[in-house]
């Protein structure tokens, strides 16, 4: 089992309780509480919006637009979801809105990688671009919604139900977005399958894997 960065369920529960208290204080215009909340969310919102938007130059604005809504609307939080789900949902809407304004939705982007490229071609591409750029190109080629699901699952440790709340869609849509994102990435990045064993060996070196 991969231990995600969000920690155990107990950690997350404790964190959420603390954040509900912070949010109640923010609702009374407590700037210190707001700063505490900002400190907690700045790194994860920056990473999430960075992956969602693929526009590093717009991330800071999107993070602050999100946190401005938190400042304005803290009093409307009713506790029906976790604070992290609520804030991430705001970030998702802000990110999508900014992309939409700029007509940069990935569905409209030209593919950087040929979906039909074979293993040999991919290997050549990795040599030419470097692994990071190659993967980044793959991520550019899936939709923002699919990247959002990948980010929230693999890096933020959200359940599929929480992701459905964040993105305001049915849980089955979350599952199928993930399924299609995986399938598309595997097609776009065929060397992934070939390098699987080597990478898995690296993975098992650093994290606990359940057999």
């Amino acid at each position: 089992m991969i231990r995600n960065k969000a920690g155990t369920a107990a950690d997350r529960g404790q964190r959420d309780q603390q954040e509900v208290i912070l949010l109640e204080r923010v609702a009374t215009r407590d700037k210190h509480a707001f700063e505490q909340l900002y400190v907690r969310y700045h790194p994860q919102l920056s990473r999430y919006l960075g992956r969602l938007m693929r526009r590093p130059d717009m991330v800071e604005e999107a993070v602050n637009d999100t946190m401005l809504v938190v400042w304005e609307k803290a009093g409307t939080f009713e506790g029906r979801s976790k604070v992290s789900t609520w804030i991430t949902g705001i970030a998702y809407l802000k990110g999508i809105k900014m992309l939409d304004k700029l007509r940069l939705m990935p569905e409209q982007n030209a593919l950087d990688i040929d979906e039909q490229a074979g293993l040999e071609e991919s290997t050549n591409l990795i040599s030419r671009l470097g692994l990071e750029e190659w993967i980044a190109s793959g991520l550019d080629s899936i939709s923002a919604d699919q990247r959002s699901v990948i980010e929230l699952t693999y890096f933020s440790g959200f359940s599929y139900q929480e992701i459905a709340e964040v993105m305001d869609c049915p849980v089955n849509t979350v599952k199928t977005r993930m399924f299609h994102a995986r399938r598309r990435l595997q097609r776009l990045l065929p060397a992934l399958s070939d390098s699987r064993l080597a990478v898995a060996a690296d993975l098992n070196d650093g994290v606990e894997v359940e057999q």
Binding site: M1, I2, A9, P43, V59, E60
Partner: protein, 227 residues
């Protein structure tokens, strides 16, 4: 024959469901029942085992493209606070330390009968003191670079103190400790590493006692009220 086909169909349907659930099996957020079903299925399904391995590989590859994030939240936070402060509608009728809502008053931190500043420094000393964290904004003595100016408080009169530490601390490290204790860095560090900070002395504690408690803390080189 019909029974075999039904069994096969059910197995196939379960297999498809497991494939969809695998990412959340890997991030450990499935319910107990879902998790048990996935674990049992994985024991016998080679295809799902392969998918699990591929997902782990994909996660590692995608994480290798970590987007660059600015570690220092402070400049962005100040920009946002400036936006808020320039829009009166965002602050209307509210005090930053309002206790009008009884529920909120209940959850506000207590001013425990130790000095606020002492707790600030204790919190500070509990933080890992990073020697690689270079001090920011070092300016000549007496010419402080303002870092924050939120000084309003309904808890009492705010006092300004000049604090020096045995080890150099970055403004960011100090600020992180102060956030938790509702104190403020007014300015610093100066050329000698001194910070000007604003704290509220708890009721029932004299100024002298307050300073003594500060000076008795290991790591604090000097503490004095600012002129």
């Amino acid at each position: 024959m019909k029974s075999i086909m039904t069994h096969s169909s059910a197995h196939s349907q379960q297999h498809e469901e497991i494939l969809l659930l695998l990412p959340w099996y890997l991030n450990d957020t499935l319910t107990g029942n879902e998790r048990t079903t996935v674990v049992e299925h994985l024991k016998t399904c080679v295809e799902c085992q392969r998918s699990r391995d591929e997902m782990q590989a994909m996660q590692l590859l995608v994480s290798s493209t970590e987007t660059e994030t600015n570690e220092d939240y402070w400049p962005s936070f100040r920009k946002l606070m400036n936006r808020i402060e320039q829009q009166p509608s965002l602050q209307a009728g509210q005090s930053s330390l309002s206790t009008a809502n009884p529920a909120v008053a209940r959850i506000r931190p207590y001013w425990v009968p130790v000095s606020l500043a002492a707790s600030v420094i204790f919190a500070l000393l509990l933080l890992p003191l990073s020697q690689t964290d270079s001090p920011v904004g070092v300016v000549p003595k007496g010419q402080f670079a303002t870092l924050t100016h939120d000084s309003e408080s309904s808890e009492g009169i705010a006092h300004r103190l000049e604090l020096q530490f045995d080890q150099p601390l970055s403004a960011q490290t100090l600020r992180a400790a102060f956030i938790e204790t509702r104190s403020n860095i007014v300015s610093g560090p100066d050329a000698e590493g001194a910070y000007l900070v604003e704290v509220v002395i708890p009721e029932g504690m004299s100024d002298a006692e307050f300073l003594r408690s500060l000076r008795s803390i290991e790591g604090v080189r000097s503490a004095a009220f600012a002129p």
